[in-house]
């Protein structure tokens, strides 16, 4: 599935490129999508009582405590309070899981918890319950720096994600990079293009009138250039997610975000 881990040299080259501005592709300092939003949209995100994403958080909190599977286990039963158990977790995902021998994002991790330890039927990748659990878990990283771990295991995924990010696709023949690196801050029809950062997910998107995951957003962008999107939860999208997390490393996590 994935190429074999590359020698440490590759890792060193990557770290070097990231440390020296101008060598990495994202030349501009990372900037949250928040800073490109209208003040009214920012105000919605700023106020936990107005922020529509908080419905998800409430729902997620209930699910965290809900008994599931034949033994009636709950996430809280093993982990305790979500506030302490999940502090900082979302900020360092996607992460490599040695048992599954693959890179996992939060959704895949939660599915593995349910199918494995709880012997429950996992929520679908795109189920509202899944979105709610990722929201409550991501909230526990709010204000912390997004920073995935780059090591021998994750490096091949990072390369794969970068390649996807830079490859032209679809009938409109565009790569993520064309919009989010080359034209951030400029108007594309009614939208101001941001850097395409993922620090605020799950986001409540006004255009959708509902919240959505990182992979739903990737899918939307690919569809808008008339490309065949990768599947949500696929290796391709998880690799792309890792690349974006690394590209935006240092940004403060802000879930649940609100976007236009």
């Amino acid at each position: 599935m994935m190429p074999a881990p590359r020698p440490l040299m590759r890792l060193a080259a990557w770290l070097c490129a990231l440390a020296l501005p101008g060598l990495a592709t994202a030349q501009d300092a990372p900037r949250s999508g928040y800073s490109y939003m209208e003040p009214e949209t920012q105000a919605l995100q700023d106020d936990d009582f107005l922020n529509p994403g908080f419905f998800l958080v409430d729902q997620g909190l209930a699910l965290w405590q809900q008994p599931m599977g034949p033994e009636g286990q709950s996430c809280a039963g093993c982990h305790g309070a979500v506030e302490t158990a999940m502090r900082g977790v979302a900020a360092r995902y996607p992460a490599f899981d040695p048992a599954a021998d693959r890179l996992m994002n939060l959704e895949l991790r939660i599915q593995a918890e349910m199918a494995g330890r709880m012997q429950a039927t996992p929520f679908d990748y795109s189920a509202p319950e899944m979105l709610a659990l990722t929201a409550v878990i991501s909230l526990q990283s709010r204000g912390l720096e997004m920073r995935p771990e780059i090591n021998d295991e994750t490096l091949p995924y990072l390369d794969m994600g970068r390649e996807i990010y830079e490859t032209r696709r679809g009938q409109l023949n565009l790569a993520c990079l064309h919009c989010h690196d080359d034209h951030a801050g400029e108007r594309l029809r009614g939208d101001v293009i941001s850097q395409g950062q993922i620090n605020a997910f799950p986001i409540y998107r006004l255009l959708w009138s509902e919240a959505g995951s990182r992979h739903r957003m990737f899918e939307w962008c690919m569809q808008s250039v008339r490309a065949e999107p990768f599947a949500r939860g696929s290796d391709e999208f998880v690799a792309l997610e890792l690349y974006l997390a690394q590209r935006g490393a240092g940004l403060a996590m802000e879930a649940p975000g609100v976007r236009r």
Binding site: G170, Q171, H178, D182, H183, E186, R189, G190, R226
Partner: protein
């Protein structure tokens, strides 16, 4: 393509490209630097149809990236140059070459190829094997672009 890699003059259309005008074909004979393309059909383009098409958001509208001041549209994009007076800068053949496949002028362009399948990858099933515009639609849009004179922009 970084900001710096597209010369400002080119973005605003002041550079005229050298070389003979050669016909381009969907086959991939498109030579980099080719600047002009003969009519794709026998039927002259219809500017009114061209305008409607160019404004149709369901058809990869040019207005995603370009502004044309005389159009009563809000939220026009600013990725590509303003198209006001574009008929003063280019003739029909040059406009056609740009609409059909802007990569023949700038391989790093962000402008989608409206009438070429060359090198496309990962196209969504619903659009596979199809160009964005038909040959006649290219003619219609070019006919509309030719109405964008300085006078029209007043």
């Amino acid at each position: 393509m970084t900001e710096g890699s597209v010369p400002v003059a080119r973005r605003h259309g002041h550079i005229r490209w050298p070389g003979a005008a050669i016909g381009l074909f969907l086959s991939g004979a498109a030579a980099a630097g080719a600047q002009s393309l003969p009519p794709l059909t026998e039927v002259a383009g219809d500017p009114a149809r061209g305008e409607a098409l160019l404004r149709d958001m369901g058809r990869a509208s040019c207005l995603i990236c370009h502004e044309i001041s005389q159009l009563d549209e809000k939220d026009m994009g600013e990725i590509g140059p303003l198209l006001d007076g574009v008929a003063e800068r280019y003739d029909a053949g040059e406009l056609r070459a740009r609409v059909a496949d802007a990569r023949t002028l700038n391989p790093d362009t962000m402008m989608p190829p409206y009438y070429s399948l060359d090198g496309l990858a990962g196209v969504a099933r619903a659009y596979r094997g199809q160009t964005i515009y038909s040959a006649q639609e290219v003619e219609d849009v070019v006919a509309f672009l030719l109405t964008l004179t300085d006078e029209a922009a007043q």
